[in-house]
């Protein structure tokens, strides 16, 4: 009799009250996450209504951000320089950090002896926990002078001489610009990407690697044919998490990017502004309703930018997984 009441393996039936309570708790937990997101979007839209209706699409296309009404300049809010700054610094950070992170993840998990690999991995995980304002102070007092006096003049005298690429390095090196913002972000997201990639690479089945070695493959071949294809989706996922951190990062970038929204130029050596910096800088003193509303709309735009990046990366992962699976079969 007692045997009959226990569910057969694989049965979907949930008869036990404990099970029902537990599944209710799980459902509630996941719906709360959803509700928070919806509440978040609803609030942003409500508070930014005034700005949305007054400026419409010009909020996204104009680069005039003037909170003060004067005789010649009317109040206007256009977020283009902020969007530009956010996208450029985040992508720059991704481009700089990803190769370094993957390279050292492979080294730590595949090439280095454990007595190096383990402490290195531990130190990297410590880096993830450093608060961003500490990165910002370090950036302002160490990185900015280094960029201004050494790196940027060097880039101008080398890459700056190449016709099209040279446009990226025009202007007096001030050290507080999009490039420095990107570098600080790269340093910040490096540990995130690295530690996740390392975990993923460590998950590659031993048998696969040993099988390759048994067939007489070199280390390079094991890496490129067995390890990386298996770990690829995970590594891309890690990079995307890094990118997400870069997009939302506020304090560290605010302290080194120059906070200037006057113009958009191709040069990475011009001071810039990111969406999150603009919110952090201006929120407390946004004294007129329209100014406040425009700042809230910036939050909405940031959410949209982050979502677009997220969706793009999902698509990327799906396509690569499809390909990888195909070649394996």
């Amino acid at each position: 009799m007692t045997l009959k009441t226990t569910a057969a393996p694989g049965s979907q039936k949930v008869g036990d009250p404990g099970d029902r309570v537990f599944s209710f708790i799980l459902r509630a937990a996941s719906s709360i996450v959803l509700l928070i997101l919806i509440a978040f979007i609803v609030l942003l839209v409500i508070d930014s209504r005034e700005s949305i209706s007054r400026f419409g699409l010009s909020f996204l296309s104009s680069s005039k951000w003037n909170p003060v009404e004067t005789e010649i300049n009317k109040i206007a809010f256009g977020a283009l320089p902020f969007i530009f700054g956010t996208v450029v610094t985040s992508l720059l950070a991704l481009i700089l950090a990803t190769p370094l992170a993957i390279g050292s993840a492979i080294f730590v998990s595949e090439y280095s002896p454990p007595w190096i690999g383990k402490p290195v991995a531990f130190i990297i995980e410590l880096l993830v926990a450093i608060p961003s304002v500490a990165y910002g102070i370090w950036g302002l007092f160490v990185l900015v002078p280094l960029m201004r006096d050494v790196v940027e003049p060097f880039l101008q005298s080398t890459l700056g001489k190449i016709p099209v690429i040279g446009l990226l390095f025009v202007g007096p090196p001030m050290g507080q610009d999009l490039l420095t913002g990107g570098v600080v972000l790269a340093i910040m997201i490096l540990p995130t990407i690295l530690s996740l990639s390392r975990e993923v690479i460590a998950q590659v089945p031993r048998l696969q690697k040993e099988g390759m070695l048994a067939l007489g493959a070199t280390r390079w071949e094991v890496l490129t044919k067995a390890v990386l294809p298996y770990a690829r989706p995970g590594i891309i996922g890690a990079s995307m998490l890094g990118l997400a951190r870069a997009i939302g990062e506020t304090m560290a970038v605010t302290m080194v990017i120059g906070n200037s929204s006057t113009k958009i130029t191709p040069s990475l050596l011009t001071p810039g502004y990111t969406i999150s910096s603009a919110i952090a800088n201006q929120f407390t003193e946004a004294d007129s309703p329209i100014y406040f509303s425009a700042i809230v709309e910036l939050g909405l735009v940031l959410l949209i930018v982050a979502s677009v990046f997220n969706i793009l990366s999902r698509i990327l992962v799906m396509r690569l997984v499809g390909k990888g699976g195909g070649s394996h079969a």
């Binding site: 003060v68 005789e71 507080q176 200037s260 800088n281 003193e285």
Partner: protein, 364 residues
């Protein structure tokens, strides 16, 4: 040890100067009052936080009234008093007519507490400890982007040694909205028609040129690190961090260094409106430093709670009289007598149920 001696010396100086020009009306708040609220809340400007912290701890010792002050920024202070979530607000920039209209509790009084100055600070390695002389014209020119180099003829006219500095000026401004920027832009708008027409004066503006630093420390950090830069910070911050500070030409034609005395003079011997809701920049007093502003607390004229009305009015009286003795040691310019007299009228006009909130023993 040296520090202690220094501060003892500074304190005795303060006491000496305070007794030299004793403020009539101080010493009238002698202890706690019956029927007075024992807890007050205030919120607003960050600039006077250090002074207010000192004041409120002294005031609690004297009267037993605890004041909880949150330095959330002038904008937040105005919002809090308008929504009636605090007993008093605090701001570095006067409320606009529109802001006063939407306040939920009726008329709001601006009671000045101290004066603050904003000073130009620069970094030119070749100059060493030499200072520079600025005029409203040159400062506006630099911040508008019309003057781009240190050896511009207009700058050289007042500073011959700049002739050799053939370098671009790196302009540094605040990136966050702030009362400091309000005083600075108000000054530029007062001296330059072009600035008034294109940029205007506010806590945050669209800066034509330059880098933005977050907070006084962000601007000071940028200026210290960037050769050939020019920025602006609060006078107290510049003194405490030993920054190179420029002299600025006052209305009388003199180049004036920003001392607390020169700052106080901006509100002495000049016409002040009765509501004291005034930007003091470019003062008519020829000895006054020109880039100066009041910092105020904001109080409703018609109070609704008798215990709080009594506590707030007594607090305002003590701060604007006895409290001033602490200002100089903390690098805040004390209110001059002219301003205190006008402030007295405002404090006496605080009412509860049609009667003055301030006890008759103080108001006389």
């Amino acid at each position: 040890m040296k520090k202690i001696i220094c501060s003892v010396f500074a304190l005795s100086l303060v006491l000496a100067s305070a007794s030299a020009q004793a403020i009539p009306g101080s010493g009238l708040v002698k202890g706690g009052a019956t029927g007075e609220a024992k807890d007050l809340t205030g919120a607003g400007a960050t600039f006077p936080t250090v002074l207010y912290t000192k004041w409120f701890s002294e005031y609690a010792k004297l009267t037993g009234v605890k004041v909880n002050y949150q330095s959330i920024g002038s904008g937040g202070g105005i919002k809090s008093i308008s929504d009636q979530t605090v007993d008093f607000g605090a701001t570095d920039g006067p409320m606009t007519d529109d802001q006063l209209k939407v306040a939920k509790g009726g008329a709001i009084l601006h009671i000045p507490m101290a004066l603050g100055a904003v000073v130009p600070t620069f970094n030119i390695p070749e100059l060493g400890t030499d200072t520079l002389r600025f005029t409203g014209d040159t400062l506006a020119g630099v911040f508008l982007g019309d003057i781009t180099k240190w050896n511009d003829a207009k700058l050289v006219a007042d500073n011959p040694k700049l002739k050799a500095i053939d370098r671009y000026i790196v302009v540094v401004h605040r990136s966050d909205g702030s009362g400091t920027s309000n005083i600075w832009t108000s000054y530029l708008a007062a001296v330059s028609e072009k600035w008034a027409k294109t940029v205007g004066a506010a806590n945050a503006v669209q800066w034509p040129v330059g880098l933005g630093g977050k907070g006084n420390e962000g601007v000071a950090g940028n200026v210290k690190q960037t050769p050939y830069s020019l920025g602006y910070v609060e006078e107290a911050y510049a003194v405490q961090n030993k920054l190179s500070v420029g002299l600025v030409k006052g209305k009388g034609g003199n180049f004036i260094a920003p001392s607390t005395n020169a700052v106080s003079l901006a509100a002495q011997g000049v016409a002040l409106p009765d509501d004291l809701r005034i930007k003091l920049v470019n003062s008519d007093n020829p000895e006054a430093f020109p880039i100066v502003g009041f910092t105020w607390i904001l109080v409703y004229q018609q109070q609704t709670d008798a215990a709080r009305a009594l506590a707030v009015s007594r607090l305002a009286w003590w701060c604007s009289h006895d409290g001033q003795a602490f200002n100089t040691a903390l690098e805040y310019a004390p209110l001059p007598l002219d301003a205190i007299k006008k402030a007295e009228v405002l404090i006496k006009s605080i009412q509860i149920n049609g009667n003055p909130a301030l006890p008759a023993t103080i108001a006389k």
